[in-house]
């Protein structure tokens, strides 16, 4: 099984965001980066697949500029078969179409075609979940959404997610794209110090793809308006019984099906 993991990294949420530039690559450069929970879940899923079958080969591609080299090494510390950085300037990462196109190009450029592409359900700081389906469309491959876990049954790899009413399983017949969401079972393991140090010494390739004309232009970038509600909290009033009744009515659309 050949697995390609696409990783992006996000500005570390534990630090205040520095916003000096309106260019996404520069915003990325100005802030400490970490893998997002979805990046980590995708990487761990690949490692789980390799745990089950030692002949699994994992390639990780980190999309970013030179500031992302530490992330590349962080991925490499899991003793992957190959790691590379994909120069992200050409990806126009605010534009889903351009990014999907660029990632698909990079995947097509790999020496061997992956059987499975794993990507976090959100890819980096500028995606809200639109990218993974567009990547699958750009590759012309099917997509398994929000995968949570993977296991081998004999020679067959099974991807698993919690559906609404049932656990959903896909017996993989390559090629597929799977978007991965975080789950107790795919919390990223810690690499061994030995491999962290080896990863520091090891070099990696920097991939480039030809830029495409983005389908969207970036008109403005600004700090989010403070996360207080534009309208202040609506405090329910009256007797507690009245308040409970009003809240029950508010929650009605999310009632469980019997």
């Amino acid at each position: 099984m050949k697995v390609a993991v696409l990783l992006a990294g996000v500005a570390d949420p534990r630090h205040p965001l520095t916003l000096r530039s309106s260019r996404p690559p520069e915003i990325r450069r100005d802030n400490p980066l970490v893998f997002s929970p979805f990046d980590e879940a995708a990487l761990e899923l690949a490692l789980k697949i390799r745990d089950g079958r030692r002949d699994t080969a994992i390639t990780a591609i980190v999309a970013g500029g030179a500031e992302s080299d530490a992330l590349v090494r962080k991925a490499a510390a899991h003793r992957l078969d190959s790691v590379a950085r994909l120069e992200s300037e050409a990806l126009a990462i605010w534009d889903v179409g351009a990014t999907a196109h660029g990632l698909a190009e990079a995947l097509r450029g790999l020496a061997t075609r992956p059987d499975l592409v794993l990507i976090g359900r959100e890819f980096g700081d500028f995606d809200d979940g639109a990218l993974a389906p567009c990547l699958a469309a750009a590759l012309g491959w099917p997509l398994f959404d929000l995968a949570q876990f993977a296991r081998w049954e004999g020679d067959e790899l099974i991807l698993v997610r919690d559906g609404r009413s049932a656990e959903e399983r896909l017996g993989l017949r390559p090629p597929w794209v799977a978007s991965v969401t975080n789950d107790r079972r795919n919390r990223l393991r810690h690499p061994l110090m030995k491999n962290v140090m080896e990863a520091r010494r090891r070099g990696f390739d920097v991939l480039t793809v030809a830029p495409v004309v983005p389908s969207a232009t970036l008109k403005a970038v600004a700090p989010a308006r403070e996360r207080t509600r534009r309208e202040p909290c609506r405090f329910l009033t009256g007797s507690v019984e009245n308040q409970v009744a009003e809240l029950a009515a508010y929650l009605q659309p999310w009632r469980a099906l019997r």
Binding site: I27, F126, G129, A130, D145, G163, N182, R184, W254, R255
Partner: protein, 331 residues
């Protein structure tokens, strides 16, 4: 461009229609005077009626001979694409989908077939001379960007606005399709989903904090989650106290959750905790302390002890006669 604004509505049997895309489409079109249409695939009569009653639009009641309720976006995408073509809406300026992974999958299919720009989950969507401009939240909710595209565009929305005024009810046009669809995927459905639902994927998260005070309180929160098709999570102090498994910890050092509704019970609302809650979630706060930070972020608040609210809420939700859910999973 004079093309229409089209709301695309995946429907689920037995549930009420998610009218968000429809209302967003009307709002966007209204400002520019563009025609509005809604495409409902495999909708029940009641859902058609819901769409029609929004008013001032054409409702396309689309059915496909080869579509089953369990079919996912892989087979629904082509149905929407074909419906757009056969209904004469192929020159749309803007297609509006519900936010979430189903909407995202349909957006990808439509983007590819019509060479349309996929803009993601947006707010403040406006039509421009040649296309669309919209605002999107990025960088974990810390930065907002405005994107613009010419030609056809696809956006997702979490519009929760009230129904606007309309001059006349919508006109319904049936459309029957039988175009070939891709093969069904070999996805197998087995048993029930895990007993303790994952907070990461739940549509409703009930989160308890220090204010809950113990295991017994969390049992009541689980009752509430059961009524709401939700999952129970906890803040760091609740996890520290052993009331909630670490896998259900919500916050910077725990899970990131992006539910539609986040019910915070006895949670003070530290930035570290709220960093784990998606910006689009509607927050309901129940807390005894009117000065608790959580109320600064909440949409709806009750200042009371959870013991006085949660059990009563559970009783009320259990006893009300009918339940519809605008679920977006497995359309």
């Amino acid at each position: 461009m004079n093309g229409p604004v089209v709301a695309l509505c995946p429907c689920r049997p037995g549930e009420s229609l998610d009218v968000g895309p429809l209302r967003a489409a009307k709002t966007v079109a209204g400002e520019a005077g563009a025609p509005v249409a809604a495409i409902l695939v495999e909708a029940a009569d009641r859902q058609i009626e819901q769409a029609r009653s929004e008013g001032d639009l054409v409702v396309w009641d689309v059915r496909h001979a080869d579509l089953s309720p369990l079919d996912d976006a892989e087979r629904r995408g082509p149905v929407f694409v074909e419906a757009l073509k056969q209904s004469g809406l192929g020159d749309f300026r803007l297609a509006v989908l519900p936010a979430g992974h189903v909407g995202a999958a349909l957006a990808a299919a439509i983007g590819k077939s019509f060479d349309a720009a996929v803009l993601g989950a947006c707010a403040e969507i406006v039509l421009t001379a040649g296309g669309v401009e919209a605002r999107r939240s990025t960088c974990g909710g810390r930065v907002e960007i405005v994107v613009a595209a010419d030609g056809r565009c696809v956006v997702a929305t979490r519009d929760a606005s009230q129904r606007g005024p309309s001059r006349r009810v919508g006109e319904v046009r049936p459309l029957r399709l039988a175009t070939p669809l891709p093969d069904r995927r070999p996805v197998e459905r087995v048993g029930a989903a895990g007993r303790d639902r994952s907070v990461a994927t739940a549509r409703v998260v009930i989160a308890g904090g220090r204010g809950i005070g113990g295991d017994e309180g969390f049992d009541r929160l689980r009752d509430l989650a059961g009524c709401l098709d939700g999952a129970v999570g906890g803040s760091l102090p609740a996890v520290d106290a052993g009331w909630v498994p670490v896998s259900a910890q919500v916050g910077q050092s725990g899970q990131f959750v992006a539910p539609e509704v986040y019910v915070a019970v006895g949670v003070s609302g530290t930035p570290q905790h709220l960093a784990g809650v998606g910006a689009a979630a509607r927050i309901v706060a129940i807390n005894t302390d009117v000065d608790a930070d959580i109320f600064r972020f909440a949409d709806v608040g009750i200042v009371a002890a959870w013991r006085d609210v949660v059990p009563a809420l559970v009783r009320r939700l259990r006893s009300s006669p009918e339940a519809f859910s605008p679920d977006e999973r497995d359309p």
